[in-house]
């Protein structure tokens, strides 16, 4: 039973949890930046008329969406050394999260751009704007607005997904809980504490998403 739930051990291990939390936060920030970069490139490729860029981008997005992140993570973790690329676990993890989330970000950006009514583009053409001007001055500023809430939703998913990196021994938050569970045989203390920390991050990001929806004047923006 849980009557000997030990708050003292949790306090004792707090520095470890703190380190894990910090690691989870910054590796998520880095991965999200990577995902944005990957997503922008994929979305741009996917919106081309010609098949040369569109088909590979689509294939990549579908392949990522139809396979589990854990299999992708192991693919890189066990596969990269095979190609002679030896990277620290942490880097492999960030790479996997970026490449995985990038596919979802690409779809969000594409949906944002396609949500701009055709009339806007036509007005741009009629005003004699070039393609780049239309993109930069008409489409992207409007698309930017609608993509923010779903992008924050993806950030929430990414933070939660980062827990899987504990399975390749990255010392992040979940790993800290596992250590407490295995060193002291205190799984309840370990996993309940990290669950609380993840909830903290979740409510923070969720609040941010709600706020951003209000700032941007999007009615009924929910994540």
């Amino acid at each position: 039973m849980l009557e000997n739930f030990s708050l003292r051990t949790i306090v004792e291990y707090l520095p470890l949890f703190g380190q894990g939390l910090v690691t989870t936060v910054w590796l998520s920030v880095l991965s999200f930046a990577g995902a944005l970069a990957v997503g922008i490139v994929l979305a741009a490729m996917n919106l081309q008329r010609g098949w040369l860029f569109r088909v590979p981008a689509k294939a990549y997005i579908d392949a990522v969406r139809a396979t589990p992140l854990l299999a992708q993570l192991y693919f890189l973790y066990f596969g990269l050394p095979r190609l002679g690329i030896i990277l620290p676990e942490l880097v492999v993890g960030i790479l996997a999260l970026s490449l995985n989330s990038g596919a979802y970000v690409a779809e969000i950006i594409r949906a944002g751009i396609l949500s701009i009514p055709r009339g806007q583009v036509e007005a741009g053409v009629a005003s004699g704007m070039t393609y780049v001007q239309r993109m930069r001055l008409v489409i992207l500023p409007q698309a930017f607005k609608v993509t923010i809430p779903p992008l924050l939703g993806q950030a929430i998913v990414l933070v939660k997904d980062s827990a899987l990196l504990s399975l390749i021994a990255v010392a992040e938050l979940t790993r800290a809980g596992q250590l407490l569970a295995s060193d002291r045989f205190m799984p309840a203390e370990g996993f309940i504490t990290i669950a609380a920390f993840y909830l903290l991050l979740y409510y923070g990001l969720k609040g941010l998403a709600a706020l951003s929806g209000r700032w941007l004047g999007l009615a009924g923006a929910r994540t």
Partner: protein
Amino acid sequence: MIWQQLQSLAGSYPLALRGLGMTVMLSLVSLVLGTLIGFGLGILRTGGNRLISSVIGAWVDLIRGTPFLVQIFLIFFILPELGIELDAFTAGIIALTNLAACFICEIVVAGIRSVPTGQVEAALASGLSRWHRMRQVVLPQAMRIVLPPLVGQYVLLIKDSSVVSAIGLTDLTRVGWLVVQRVPNGLLVFFLVGLGYFIVCYPLIMLARRLEQRMGAAHGEVQL
């Protein structure tokens, strides 16, 4: 070298089949249970009882706010401390069913809320009972909103089932992990593992897309 590896891989096909069977089993059982419970929770949450709906809302938020891996560990390691003995398979089913039910609850709530109030009022005026209002008026109309994300949720569920390999269940991902210890070619092994998931998930993704287009088109909305 590669020939030897291929032979060794071919030798582990019974293991791969077992893993695939486990993945299908886990997904199927939790998909059916999760859908039933999810619909029940969704209907209860829109039912008008404040207490019930806020308890469900809080639980759904707890599940949506924590990583699935942590949920599995909590169930697998803590339920036994509460005196509930369970094996890894049961723990996996409980975790997956709970996850699916929570996400499906949200989908169902959104669907029910999308039905115009006039419809419910008309049903009330016609003297339909609560059960008949739900079954014959609200749910059929809500399904238009519910169906595409529901299929999408099934894809997520199948993918999330890979995480239960962390508590030692021999599913498809775990088989990859076992095989790669003997056949040191991670690219090939996990390409095949990925292919296994892709074959199941990709048709479902296409179906979700088709449904989304059809449901939109059937009601005269503009398609892009």
